[in-house]
Amino acid sequence: MTQLKQLFLYLTYECNMKCKHCWVYSDKKSKPLDSSIWINAITEAQDLGLELVKFTGGEPFLEKSLLFTLVDTGIEYTAETNGTLFTESDVEHLSQSKIREIGVSIDFPDPQRFEAFRGLPHSFEKVTNSIILLHEYDIPAVCIMSVFADNLRDIPAVAELVFDLGADKLKAHPVMAMGKAKEFVNHLLPLPAYKELAHTLEEIEEMYPGKIGTSLPWVLIADFASDHLDITRTVCEYKSLLTLLPNGDVSLCGVGITSPSTIVGNIQQDALSDIWENKPGLLSELHDMDPLHIHGICGKCIFRRYCANMCPAYVYDIYGTFTASYPLCEELRASGLFPEKYLV
């Protein structure tokens, strides 16, 4: 049986920020499930080989009590947060748990644009203080920069800022038009700008070696220095993860928020082990997917063993199938911007 290595836990959809690019509908009210239900699911997952939990949302620290109850079970975990809701005692608490790293979102190097974009006054200072605190308590801080047309040229300044504050890594991910972010489509990176993004990453990787990550497909960063395969890349382990949504729904990934067909059960009624072993609905289709036999351009790319189609969830959201190509690569090819020499 395949090992269930990771659980993504969406404790809530709600968020204290109003970020324009976020794919989650944060105005969706959700009453948190009792902690015993979450703990039971985690215990079941441990029997299936669980190695890591990721807390995300919504803003997981809005459910701080629940979060700390789960953290205190001794699980190894990461968390994604906007970084505005920490106190020093919270960080101290986290530092005594099995935290692997914490992702903090930061998209601009200055308070004016950051706060205008994120819709929360005085938040820049809170976020930067959080990064400092995490560093002081030896918790690896991974800053996540969502890249779009308005902040593409701010990447070096954001890198300088977060590494001065003590961050361990910076991941610069282009915003994808998924869920609520479809309303943000006019601000996404135009296709010709992806080359500039790749070159910017190459430049800052030289300044901060080993500290830069991105979700760009391999083919777009192939002209990096020859050790570019060492760059931190987000490779989805989609065959070994499940996602639990705030109402207990079990989904293949966070895509369950926007694509109800990817929901395969609910931990209030179903045993996680039954879901994992019996593979209802689309779970079987996802697990049977052969990453070397993707349709379209990804199936012809020399990097397909390493990318597959990058994000089956996103691909499913766009095309309604897991085996289609990564939409960005298809769009680049249609525009004549895909480096054809990497196709076989």
Binding site: A222, D223, S226, D227, H228, I302, R305, K341, Y342, V344
Partner: protein, 95 residues
């Protein structure tokens, strides 16, 4: 593999691989195993010389001009080992 007996035989890339040059490095794609290896500047240079027109000795001579400060005996040893590995992996074949 001992290349000592075939230093004059020309080398070529196995048709099962594709070499893609990218600036000062390259990618070696293996069609059978669907995997990619990165070739650094020197490896790329050697692979480009595996063009059906150069032998092991030719490649050593070429690199000796490229790296005049490296003793010839070391170059011979390193290049021979590297090419032996390429042949063992099926990347390069004798013409």
């Amino acid at each position: 593999m001992d290349l000592g007996v075939m230093p004059e035989v020309n080398l070529s890339l196995n048709p099962k691989v594709k070499l893609i040059k990218e600036g000062d490095h390259g990618y070696l794609y293996d069609h059978e195993n669907v995997c990619v290896q990165v070739a650094n500047r020197t490896a790329l240079h050697i692979l480009e010389l595996c063009d059906d027109e150069h032998s092991v000795n030719d490649i050593i001579e070429d690199l000796a001009m490229l790296f005049p400060d490296v003793p010839k005996s070391k170059l011979e040893k390193d290049v021979t080992h590297f090419i032996a590995d390429l042949i063992k992996e099926g990347v390069v074949v004798f013409s």
